[in-house]
């Protein structure tokens, strides 16, 4: 349903690597757009307030001290959600990869669960769990779980069978096979899954916050919209964009570090 597999994101990744070379000239249209907007935009416009009015709008009416806690809330929900999705996704992915029977048993159930749009899960989650942090994290986990699970399970299935046979003939314990052989060899697949899951987790965090008005940047955007503060809405959109840029480059940095270490190992 969502961006789940390696093949789906491959072109954009290649793209990203090329952009760095000619990145600054590429900002031209955006700068132009914002400049024109600034020149002809009325700061009081109910639809398109000039960009210069965005930043001050964050601090009007004593709302300035809400921003940092909201960002921290969003980051925490996102982080815990991604962590939960990673643990659950890796555990389930390993089980499915190792045991075909288990994979076949849970297959249809998971396919169905994966197809549910996260936005549609939100009302159900609020009804069953209430409006709190747990509910937010559960929704994020349910949405971000799938790329990690799928990449882990196919990572295990693609392993050379000799690897596990060797572990067996060395009579390694299950724990040692798991942590010494299995996990290190599927690590690249897991990291790839986590990278795909990261933007999903952030988007879903913002979505849940917006829909339920429970803390975070998403809730602030919703509040600004309901109280008709367009400049504030745009300012918060910009903050969400920055957050997303930071998070995505952070994950890419970690992924590169993991890959470099593996190359160094060999």
């Amino acid at each position: 349903m969502t961006q789940d597999r390696a093949s789906d994101i491959a072109p954009s990744t290649r793209l990203y690597e090329r952009i760095r070379l000619d990145s600054l000239t590429g900002l031209l249209p955006l700068v132009l757009l914002l400049s024109v907007w600034q020149l002809i935009g009325d700061p009081e416009s109910p639809f398109f307030p000039a960009p210069s009015s965005w930043w001050p709008a964050l601090f009007t009416l004593g709302q300035g001290d809400k921003i940092i806690p909201a960002i921290l809330d969003t980051v925490r929900t996102f982080g815990l959600g991604l962590l939960g999705a990673t643990i659950l996704g890796v555990a389930l992915g390993l089980s499915i990869g190792v045991s075909r029977t288990f994979g076949r048993a849970v297959g249809p159930t998971f396919e169905f669960a994966r197809a549910l749009p996260p936005a549609a899960i939100v009302p159900v989650a609020t009804l069953l769990l209430g409006f709190d942090e747990t509910m937010k994290i559960v929704v994020v986990v349910l949405a971000a779980l799938w790329p990690i699970l799928l990449n882990t399970s196919s990572g295990v299935q693609e392993l050379n069978p000799v690897l596990l046979d060797t572990a067996r003939s060395l009579r390694l314990s299950t724990t040692r096979t798991l942590f010494g052989v299995l996990l290190p060899s599927v690590m690249p697949a897991i990291v790839l899954g986590v990278r795909v899951a990261t933007p999903i987790a952030l988007v879903i965090t913002l979505l849940v916050e917006y829909l339920t008005a429970v803390n975070g940047v998403g809730a602030l955007v919703g509040e600004a919209q309901r109280t008709f503060q367009p400049a504030r809405v745009y300012a918060l959109i910009a903050i969400a964009g920055l957050l997303s840029l930071v998070v995505n480059s952070g994950v890419r940095f970690v992924e590169n570090a993991v890959q470099r270490r593996r190359v160094g190992d060999q």
Binding site: D22, T25, P123, I237
Partner: protein
């Protein structure tokens, strides 16, 4: 077992898996019926089935479904045309790429979800708001995958076009598009599911129609069974749209595009 496979695509008939699904529903039913799991507002599967029957034959489900499908399809169609067109331009022209790509990357980083409040302020609670949002979100995957597909075409292939003295439109139609098609189709598929998600979100908070609104209505009326009906309908719709697109691509696209689509 390729990475592009789903959980178990190769064997469509999977009695064990279906059995597990049925067992889960059965246990859920028993737990709720005998109040073993005392979760407030959790309807039993039988109640959901009854609510589904009522909503399909006497209620609003079909009308809402048609609305959501219509907006998703229309928005996705428009988004795809814009995305492929812009993607061809940026993929083929190094100048256009150099002087705009970063802007697109920066804009793309902003989650489309956060534009929902802005769209609400600008367009109000209307169909226009829903459609604009669906189009905006749907453009990105198509655009990015078209650019990626076009830029990774082997230079030799384009040289063939030059050698045959094909005009630019001919080159695009006969060489560039077919070669980039597998990547474009991936973008189209991702775009379609994103369009559906955005349509449902827009209906939940803005345009008071469609599946999303049905979901919110059921939530507000404290009818959990009905709410589950809409959740399941939205999920099934996603599966159906995706399957439909895959079947269409398989029927109309030759060779290697087909392989890529059916695998994912």
């Amino acid at each position: 077992m390729g990475r592009n496979e789903g959980l178990n695509r190769r064997n469509p008939s999977n009695p064990l898996g279906v059995l597990v699904l049925v067992a889960i529903a059965g246990i859920w039913e028993v737990l709720v019926r005998f109040s073993i799991a005392d979760v407030q507002f959790l309807p039993a599967p039988s109640e959901i089935a009854a609510a589904a029957q009522g909503e399909i034959f006497g209620g609003e489900l079909v009308g809402r479904l048609i609305h959501t499908v219509g907006v998703t399809a229309l928005g996705w169609g428009i988004a795809s045309v814009i995305g492929v067109g812009l993607g061809l331009l940026l993929g083929l022209s190094p100048t256009a790429y150099r002087y705009s790509m970063t802007s697109f990357e920066v804009t793309r980083a902003i989650p489309p979800i956060t534009f929902v409040p802005a769209a609400l302020l600008i367009f109000g609670f209307s169909l226009k708001m829903e459609l604009v949002l669906v189009i905006y979100g749907g453009i990105w995957p198509v655009l990015i995958n078209t650019i990626g597909g076009v830029r990774s075409i082997a230079p030799e292939l384009r040289d063939v076009g030059t050698m045959l003295r094909l005009s630019t439109p001919e080159t695009i139609r006969k060489i560039v598009l077919p070669a980039a098609m597998p990547s474009v189709v991936v973008g189209l598929r991702l775009g379609l599911s994103l369009c559906l998600v955005l349509a449902v979100v827009a209906e939940m908070v803005g345009n008071p129609e469609g599946l999303g609104n049905g979901l919110i209505r059921a939530r507000q009326a404290l009818q959990p069974a009905l709410m589950f009906v809409y959740v399941i309908a939205a999920g099934l719709l996603g599966v159906a749209l995706n399957a439909g697109l895959r079947a269409t691509a398989r029927a109309f696209l030759p060779g290697n595009a087909l392989k890529d689509v059916s695998a994912s």
